[in-house]
Amino acid sequence: MDAVIECSVHGVITEQNVEQLHTRLRGWREFEEVPTTVHEICMRSFPFEGVPSSEIRLLQYLEPKPESESEWIVQQHGAPQRGPGTEKLRAMVRGITESSCKGDAVAFFSAMGFSIQFSCLKKGLVFTCVEGGMPLTVKVVQINKLEDDTNLATAVPLSPGNWVVEAIARATTETYAAACARLGAFADRPALASLVTLTKPHLPPGRPPPVV
């Protein structure tokens, strides 16, 4: 199975500019728009005797509604690529291993030795563009932290007045350089750059974005 590489850029946008960003993305007709609400839980395993701790993300989509209840996507991200030549890439590059499952995923991973680090509710719109066989996904979401990891009613905005924009392209080991270039070109579109600066994330996704 070919390794899947995820290339991504992030940025923060003020709430006042969100609607304008939506309008511009809609104006680029190659994008299809879908509302999104995702419950995301970050879990980490306990390190021991030569086995480092590892992190996984559990995602449960509330919008678009999945076919069955208690369906989770489980993602494991590799470390971001470093080394010579990486500085020239316009996006962060890292491997991703993903699966979907049904059942009490949190209980299952807890029983394996993972514990919840944080959880959040991401709500907003996802714009997807499939151009030349290379899908580009742009998420414009507000991140809400959950006071109680399993109770979605306790969601409060993590950084009030700020939304997060994330542009992601998935590629293979052969095509990731082109995907990064594409993300860079997208970020440079003047209509976009005037509203939000998209760069390699300095912080892992989900952590508080810097308050602008």
Binding site: P52, F108, M112
Partner: protein, 222 residues
């Protein structure tokens, strides 16, 4: 999915028995009883036991993971943390996700490989079971009764089917011993599901290990 029951074929006297001939006899008897146009349709289910790399698991938990890959649901894998009795139903790619965590090491592989036969409302699958190193582990019969998905209602009907098959095998004097399982113990409901199959196969593997490794009391960890 109808309710299923798994049986382990046991002969009183196993000395000098040629198991491949026994398997053939059972398959032939099923072929005679079936209405299949096509004979010898294959099936193959697999299971694996993974053990946590840390001797006690995580604070005493998560030591043993059972992974079941059913023949009739090729795009699914069932995961069961044995002692905690927590199930997860996932895509095959979940195995890759778990491998990335590097928490578990492979302990045992178990394969059942044989033929499937349609007999009206019953579907019978007979197979030989083997461990990873090719070691023969026994003959398995899996019977499914499609019209009923309630475990307790289907059990007597499935047992009745075995009696019919037993009669058809007349010279052979083995018995089909049902794999013991108490679905309530694992928090499962009475409606049959892939999780019930997973539980039966876990108990089957444990029973087989007990038979194959009688001196290793700790081996099966049942």
């Amino acid at each position: 999915m109808g309710a299923k029951r798994i049986y382990f074929y046991q002969l009183a006297n196993t000395k000098g028995v040629q198991w491949s001939l026994v398997l053939n006899s059972i398959a032939k008897a099923l072929e005679t009883m079936s209405v299949d146009q096509q004979k010898g349709i294959k099936w193959c289910s697999k299971a694996a036991i993974l053990r946590h790399k840390h001797a006690d698991g995580f604070k005493g938990h998560g030591k043993d993971m059972f992974i079941f890959h059913p023949s009739d649901e090729p795009h699914k894998r069932y995961f069961l943390l044995r002692h905690e009795q927590v199930f997860l139903e996932a895509n095959p790619s979940m195995v890759a996700v778990l491998e990335k965590s590097e928490l578990y090491k492979h302990k045992l592989s178990f394969t059942v490989d044989g033929t499937v036969h349609s007999l009206g409302d019953f579907t019978a699958r007979v197979a030989q079971a083997t461990l990873l190193n090719g070691k023969f582990a026994g003959i398995i019969l899996e019977v499914e009764y499609s019209p009923v998905d309630h475990v307790d209602e289907a059990d007597p009907l499935l047992a009745g089917f075995c009696e019919t098959l037993h009669a058809a095998l007349a010279p052979l004097d083995g018995i089909f011993k049902p794999v013991k399982y108490t679905y309530k113990q694992f928090g499962l409901g009475p409606v049959y599901s892939g999780q019930h199959s997973t539980m039966q196969y876990l108990n089957l593997v444990a029973a087989v290990l007990t038979l194959l490794l009688p001196n290793k009391g700790q081996g099966s960890g049942a």
